[in-house]
Amino acid sequence: MEDLINEFIAETREMLEALGGEIVAWEAAPSDRARLDEIFRFVHTVKGNCGFFDLPRLETLSHAAEGVLAEVRSGERPADHGLVSAVLAIIDRIGELVQALETGESISSADDAQLIEALTASPSASEREHQGSAGTVLEGRKAVRSIRLSIDLLDRMMSGVSDMVLARNELSRRLREAPTDLAVEAAFERVSTCIAEMRDAITRTRMQRIDNLFVTLPRMVRDLSSELGKQVSLEVDGGDVELDREMIEMIRDPLTHIVRNAIDHGVEPPGDRTAAGKASSGMLRVSARQSGNQILIDISDDGRGIDGDKLVKKAVSNNLLTEQQAERLGAAQKTALIFEAGLSTAREVTSISGRGVGMDVVRANIERIGGVVDVDSKLGQGVRFTLRVPLTLTIIPALTVSAGGQTFAIPRSAIEEIVRSKNDSVRVEALGGSHVASIRGKRIPLTWLADVLGVAPEASASEQSFIVLKPAGGDVYAVGVDFVHDHEELVIKPAAPVVMATGLYAGTTLADDGSPILLLDPSGIAARAGLLLDQNELEKLAARPHAPEAPQEGTQALLFRTIYGAKRVIPLAVVERIEDVLPDAIKLSAGRLRVAIGDEILPLAGCGDQVPSHRIRILRLSDGATEVAYGFADVADLVSVTGEMKPAASPGEVSGVTLIAGEQVEILDTYWLFADCASTRDGGGRKPVCALPTDDPWMNTILRPIIEGAGYHVVSHADAEAADILITNAEDEDVPPLPSGQVVRIRSSAEVRGKADDSIYRYDRTGLISALSRHAAKRTKG
């Protein structure tokens, strides 16, 4: 069917071309019978043909024109100028629609009815219109006439303009170097403006709405699903996204293939879906959006998903993987095997998506145009393919920067902000071996371009500038560069596959002096730098966990080296963030070291009582109420502490020793730290004692600091005898007797279980604190 529609387009176009002369001649002499017959035959054929396709607009238009022309032929109506104009307007519209069929543009149907109405308008009315002036004949027709250009010609125009831009840039450079008179400069400015305008116009001729690609989908989905006895509803979004005409053609096959696959292999037959508790009709979503210099096309279905294990089995039996390699694969890597040649999960090759073309070809095709295809699948829930394709052969605004003595370009569309590291509002924090830039209080992951590219930086860390980037489909991050040069309009050419394969570049361009520059791919840089964490994950890493639901796996802890070189761990839950501080922010006051950070003054531990002589790094620890700073040398790792703890001989900064990777590591006693700092704050006095089930990790890492922050000394249930208040899980039966009788029960679900339930939800902080103070008040009275 697709072949046929192409035939139809080609044939109609040929007829229109052949008709071109006739139209003009008929316009001049409407009574010319031979011309009338030609034009009649055209609309007649179009009408007859489009009946075979689902093209109601074309059919309606050609039918209307045919009817009127038949009347003219039979002598029932004169071929007045109004009628001629109306018929020609319809022929023009037919031409536009046929072109749109080919290119996928959409043309508003709003005035179709008006065009048809014009045909049947009373002759006198159209005559009157005509009598206005001779010019109205032409004005009455749709003003937009189009001609066809070969893509080759457009390409030549485009590359001509590209060369012109380069020549202009070079001229501009030479003019800057040599003293010139104002008249020359003014003339040069004019040339520049002309070139810019022309470049815009030509660029636009190559751009097309992606709708072009999407219009054929509803029909394809309908035909395929009915052929396969499946029900699939299609949702299409983002048809107004524009990209290079050539790109559209390059994406057509891969997109078609993925959609076919989704219907054939993804979406289950209605019976299976119902049995799996899904709606009987499958959902297929195709959407496009532009993000910087890339277009993202998502194709997702809610079908059975990709069975990664099956793929692995097949890969092993096809000798693509060894058993050992297979064992090491993560879920995403297993799913990605779909792109390997010869691996298709379907038991048999079907007529729909078989055809010997696999996802390996899809990937190859996308990569050939400098794109990337990703897959994400949940077994039983569906698959999402994401095609990321660049806008190649275009001129884009870019920023030139350098790293390791080499100039690179960054698409300006991906740039959010450029900041100098010397700027006061910028701070660099180290975190678990990586870095975070804090820009005006907002923390974003940071990497260095020289590191990512494996070249030696020319500027020191403090001299680097940071480019804040928002890559296509990714999260904001910052990249440090040696120097920031200039904003430029660059002619981007696709880079060879071997260059694209690095995943770091989006294309190449030429500098003013004619030397090549690589255009960086912001997503690729982030991926290479390992910045695939999304913002939330980073926050989670940096701050306390929101809800540690897997306490069995041990406590997440930060392994670091103290200023004195000892290795210690601290529960990650209490680490707010890591910062660099200068010695002049640290003072010995009120009996201990304190550090000023912003407008806060925090007690500083970890440095003894000597103000350090140089810049140090601090851990900002928080128990939810109190903050403490702890000076340290560097972060070694993020670890999970599961091993047995040997308690320290005496209470102090270190609560004990544990084994991490065979090495003895001291555990920083956060309780003692907070208590110590709090006591300095409060100036002593006996603290109320609260007994906690300290063997419960949630209680110990999350609740404990809050209770301590409220001024309590926390002991374990084993020492409950001395406690003033006992906190327990509502679910626990085995509660030690408490002489004072004050028990606060904490439940893990938000719902209350019956009226008698006086327990408090574990994240109801206010309720918890007020319960504590209520009990404390009773205690003091009693």
Binding site: E7, E11, N49, F52
Partner: protein, 121 residues
């Protein structure tokens, strides 16, 4: 195997017709206008002609009249294609010697039944 000559100036129609006819087990020959159709017939007589009406060079009507004047041993059946459901138009075609008519767009079933009516399928 029965044979059919498809006469239509539109390649699209010829392709559609060929596709359908081939699934109906016909051998298919094509002509772009009436004159070409006549010369085809001289070299190879089909069992049936699927004839478009409105064609350049020689229209369907002209072709049909000429065909029916020829002194062949066996005349082919002629099914003419039209888009008009116009009694006068159809009558003119039948009078000129058409055996049956079929409306465009046609599908397999319609065409098959028309061919059955004229006794070639």
């Amino acid at each position: 195997m029965k044979s059919c000559l498809v006469v239509d100036d539109s390649k699209v129609i010829r392709k559609v017709a060929r596709h359908i006819l081939e699934t109906l087990n016909f051998s298919v020959d094509e002509a772009e206008d009436g004159r070409q159709a006549l010369s085809r017939i001289e070299t190879k007589m089909p069992d049936v002609v699927l004839l478009d009406w409105n064609m350049p060079v020689m229209s369907g009507m002209e072709f049909l009249r000429t065909l029916r004047q020829q002194d062949f041993d066996v005349q082919p059946k002629v099914v003419f294609c039209t888009t008009e459901n116009d009694a006068a138009h159809i009558r003119a075609a039948i009078e000129a010697g058409a055996d049956e008519y079929v409306m465009k767009p046609f599908d397999r079933e319609t065409l098959e039944s028309k061919l059955q009516i004229v006794g070639v399928a």
